[in-house]
Subunit: 244 residues, 2 copies
DNA sequence: ACGTAAGGATCGTTGAACAATTCGACAAGG
DNA sequence: CCTTGTCGAATTGTTCAACGATCCTTACGT
């Protein structure tokens, strides 16, 4: 019992700014994306509200925030659980990436966006040189986030951020971060060069292959892990769909 | 074995429904998109919770749902307001539409998606023949929703649904629904023909012009109305962005 | 005219309470 | 042995009342 909930007490110090529910959501979001809470795990209202020193009502608001970000899913009268992504979910996330990032690389780059992309590429290369593969992963994510800014659309930026947060749920299954991140450092550089050279079609084709490869790496490492960990009774992944 | 029990799985989605907060959100969503609540109007927690006979806490949960759908926006300590879309918001919504719908029409249509699209076109033509321009608008929206299903991505479907709900906020400024909807009935048919003929590039170009036109119609009718109605002190549209 | 202070309205959050629902255990029945 | 019915503990869903915090307005003073 008490799945590391006691550790949450350390995060109590982070309470004290803006809206309590949002701050609680921030804490839980960090905990989820760092893998502290495992996918499928149920988050008890009582124990967590007690550990963080907030009321159940406030915690429920935080849960609702994270449910909308698809990091948690909610089963009526049963509570909230850390989202489990099915292989189909991963495939869908990459479908969306191909649409949004594909549209991005076809645009003529703005100086500001280009600068963001360059920084992300440089950061990834720097982290790779010092064998910090966790930092490489972070920089790679920033790279794609920067790519999307080429669309010049705040809504697409936000959608991409949410999508990447979802993907982080499954990045944890990669036991070897180097094998997963290393191949893409060089490709990021190459994609940047294609953008700067003003060759959008080649950039788009390159990106498609890039995403195909990343998706395959992920699914290959993911499927077996999903079969083994059958702690949750629902073989069909949790559906988060809203009505209407 | 298994006397048709497997078929029941399809009905599982109907179990996880309901919840007072969601039902309240449904009611408010309808009221907002039908224009009963005007953009910029503040929704009082006390009066609405009293009118609907639910507690403030439950109503706040419903508010949170609608805020995430961008139909309401939330100002700390000041309450929730019906979203006001700025001209920049409208432009952004159309940017997203060009990306998502543009990707859709470039795909090879599936029979199911094609059927949905055909039905929407036929419905729009039927409604136009009987001068029911409100119904034409509804059918047109269904048309675009159906277009997006070509992407075969649940997440893009949901994003499109949310986007169209946002757009409905501004459709109300069109005092002449016929002028706004009529031109597109014929174009929907034309776009469908291009899809069936397997000419994705022409379909994409046609869609771009289509969306350009719709956006211009909307912004032209919208800007003046926005200037006049300066009841809210924020000239820059309400920002809904979340931190992180 | 301008800044400031008091007041009122409303939101933010809490804690407690009770109803509703789920789930496991155990007994009864075939 | 398997299925079904029932009970009870545990947890969530929802409500209510209360109080502090924050914002807006108004009135005041300089």
């Amino acid at each position: 019992m008490d799945n590391g909930v006691a550790d949450l007490e350390r995060d109590r110090s982070r309470l004290g700014r803006s809206s309590t529910a949002e701050r609680v959501a921030d804490i839980l979001r960090d905990r989820i994306s760092e893998g502290f809470f495992e996918p499928g795990q149920r988050l008890s209202e009582e124990s967590i509200s007690e550990a963080l020193g907030v009321s159940r009502n406030t915690l429920r608001e935080a849960f609702r925030l994270l449910s909308h970000e698809r990091l948690l899913y909610h089963r009526l009268n049963r509570g909230v659980f850390v989202r489990i992504l099915s292989a189909e979910d991963v495939a869908d996330l990459y479908r969306v990436r191909r649409v949004i990032e594909g549209a991005a690389v076809r645009r003529t780059p703005t100086p500001k966006a280009l600068r963001l992309i360059k920084e992300a590429v440089a950061d990834a290369e720097r982290a790779a040189a010092s064998d910090d593969w966790r930092a490489v992963g972070t920089a790679n994510i920033r790279f794609h986030q920067a790519l999307v800014t080429l669309n010049q659309s705040p809504r697409l930026d936000e959608a991409m951020g949410q999508l990447l947060a979802e993907l982080r749920l499954v990045f944890h299954v990669m036991k070897n971060p180097r094998a997963f991140h290393e191949p893409f450092v060089e490709r990021n550089r190459r994609l940047l060069e294609l953008l700067e050279a003003g060759r959008p079609d080649e950039a788009a084709a390159f990106l498609d292959a890039y995403l195909d490869h990343a998706e395959r790496l992920l699914v290959d490492a993911y499927e077996p892990a999903y079969e083994l960990n059958s702690s949750t009774p629902t073989p069909t992944g949790p559906v988060h769909g809203r009505n209407r």
